[in-house]
Symmetry: C2
Subunit: 411 residues, 2 copies
């Protein structure tokens, strides 16, 4: 991590939104210098945007490491072999593959997800019940050949995901870990600032489980529709919102309301879905061969960035929660004395401060501070120095307070 | 960063090398649990391997940030447009493209390098001489459709590179920064432990520069051939080892020797090679439009890992330099008392220590310690505790010393 002087960075804010950017998150993040569009659904991450991504990764990593998860990095290029065993290399089965060809012959895929290669890889490392349970995750770029991609970084053709896979000897142990991940996801989304509006929803379960769960953040432009009861103790995805499920959940007759939301995570009891066709087995305590139980747990890292951008933005620009913000402080020095005092504050605080040291009008700096959305703007000028203080403005509430220079260090 | 208990990680060492792995680096890194092969030239990075990669990135990042370089992340999927302007989207021109198709129509490429998109992107951020110079880098996966890939992670079809691009108003300023990067590369390779055997070589320069430079590490299995004079003050790539060049460098008649080497970095004065066809312009102080001068500077991150593995390995296994090693200490507790004392050492040192807490024979632990190649093995047993000490063994030299437990903290 390092600081940023506005006069030295190549980042510039843009007055107007790019013409071809329909989504608010894409337009604002572009205007504020966080991302750059290569084509629909494909973005570059500029220094500020990369810091947001790294912050989201850090929060997720910290919470997963607490559960004993181990980080790896799988490849993007995919050998068809394991995918053919599960039937998922077929474009009829999975319709969002990007495929390419080896010059030495043979078709490859670009990973849209990693269940097959990770299950296949672990055949080299799992042989006995003593090797289980284990939990393996990665942050990796996924590729999905979406027909349309008009939602900024909410739905990308190339995007960053965290995917975690767990491996167990029994359904009970899978259930235990699944519940731990549910709690960890709660902590993660709370730290990312979207905890209050993110619900764990019932979603369709597939062959091996009655339900899976998604984590859905209420968002006007969200692509999903969810239904919640009065106290929001039961929230359902559209595909399972029917009488049969409501009865199953003991919620028949309750009143449900509808809202739009964006899926930020999902968790799924895979059981034998991949371990069976890929023959991921272990020898149990009675020396018998058994199939490994699996779970998978995703979080859309770049999508979370888009959701946060979209959700908290106001008419002046972005508003970042503190753990996600690329820097905590947007520092402005006005006039010679203000600038000198700002330099003093900046020294040693490079990691947390974006220093707007440009020779620009204060109004221009204030507008950029609001557009970029760092949690606190600190202004030091002759006026504030007359009170031996700096003016600190909370981006979210817009409230300002004078803080004595001596107290600023503690702030 | 976090610690690793051998009993809790999914990593296992393998007795024998995989059959299809001809390269020493690939075989050793696989046996020691650092990487897993998906197909020829495509590898997964397991927890230890990922830590090595992160360490190499950290060293590079620290040195580049000192020069004022800014980190970004470009996309892997490539819009053909800017590449068509430089003529490089053609498979005749660049024969290692992986190409793919958008389901909505149109061909895309997987980036083998990023000169075109980064030059194109900066058209949105550079308009005046006041915006220059600037230096932008990334760590990004590159894709190259190699006909053969039999060198482990020395030559991958999917691999990690650091690529830096610089932008200037004049040739003098490009020269100044180029010299700074030369020095930074020297520091980087020294910190990575390959400084002594890595030479800056003269290489062919292309249209706009007489020479480019490569950084070549002497290596028996290296794919390149380099030539050096007696005091190694002049080192040349094969393609420029001729009388004309030797005369040009004032080295005609000097005796040169030949050796094999692996290219770990290259630096190139691009000048107008990409800025001209892509029209990256700026307005100078006299209000005239000018073309931006460019330089580019690469380091093969995963290749460097392979070079280090290959270069320092001995008949017992890997030998990592300290800044690169996934952990500094390989901690072994023998017997109940040894184990208890080892637990004490481990507490608070998780970041730097791999704790072999398995119920395994000491011989097995020692063999794995040697195979995995961490700089120091620390053994605590009844025998060492009798001296109130631990036995510390240097992996590189094989030398052991007894260190008092009280001094171990400082060690």
């Amino acid at each position: 991590m390092r600081g940023m002087r506005f006069s030295k960075t190549f980042i510039k804010t843009l007055r107007t939104a790019p013409k071809d950017e329909a989504a608010k998150n894409g337009a604002l993040l572009t205007r504020a210098g966080y991302i750059h569009k290569e084509m629909a659904g494909v973005y570059d991450y500029l220094p500020l945007g990369l810091r947001v991504i790294e912050n989201i990764k850090r929060v997720i990593r910290e919470e997963l490491n607490k559960l004993g998860c181990e980080e790896v990095q799988m490849s993007a290029l995919q050998n068809p072999e394991p995918w053919e065993k599960t039937g998922r290399f077929s474009d009829q089965e999975v319709d969002i593959w990007f495929k390419t060809n080896l010059s030495s012959g043979g078709e490859l895929g670009l990973a849209p997800t990693h269940e097959e290669p990770i299950t296949n890889m672990l055949k080299s490392y799992i042989s006995s019940y003593k090797d289980l349970p284990l939990y393996v995750y990665q942050f990796q770029t996924k590729f999905r050949n979406e027909l349309r991609a008009k939602s900024g970084i909410l739905r990308g053709r190339e995007f960053l995901m965290k995917d975690l896979y767990s491996f167990h000897t029994s359904e009970e142990d899978l259930d235990r870990f699944y519940a731990e991940v549910e709690k960890a996801y709660g902590r993660i989304f709370a730290r990312l600032g979207i905890g209050e509006d993110t619900y764990e929803t019932f979603a369709s379960g597939g062959i091996f489980a009655k339900y899976s769960h998604e984590f859905q953040t209420v968002l006007p432009v969200g692509e999903d529709t969810i239904y919640y009861n009065t106290d929001k103790s039961i929230v359902l995805n559209k595909e399972v919102y029917n009488n049969e499920v409501l009865e199953d959940l003991g919620a028949a007759g309750e009143k449900f309301e509808e809202t739009t939301a964006a899926e930020v995570g999902n968790i799924f009891k895979l059981k034998f879905k991949y371990s069976e066709p890929l023959e991921l087995k272990y020898i149990d305590e009675e020396n018998k061969q058994q199939t490994v139980y699996m779970g998978c747990y995703g979080i859309g890292v770049s999508r979370v960035m888009g959701v946060i951008a979209e959700k908290f933005a106001d008419d002046k620009g972005l508003v970042w929660p503190e753990e996600v913000a690329p820097y905590k402080y947007y520092l402005v020095g006005i006039g010679e004395n203000g600038m000198a005092e700002a330099e003093k504050f900046y020294a040693g605080r490079e990691d947390t401060t974006l220093f707007d040291d440009r020779k620009a009008r204060p109004g221009e700096k204030f507008a950029d501070a609001e557009l970029m959305g760092l949690p606190y703007r600190i202004v030091i000028s002759d006026k504030t120095l007359a009170e031996d203080a700096a003016e600190v403005t909370d981006r979210r509430t817009g409230e300002s307070q004078m803080v004595k220079l001596a107290d600023l260090a503690k702030f």
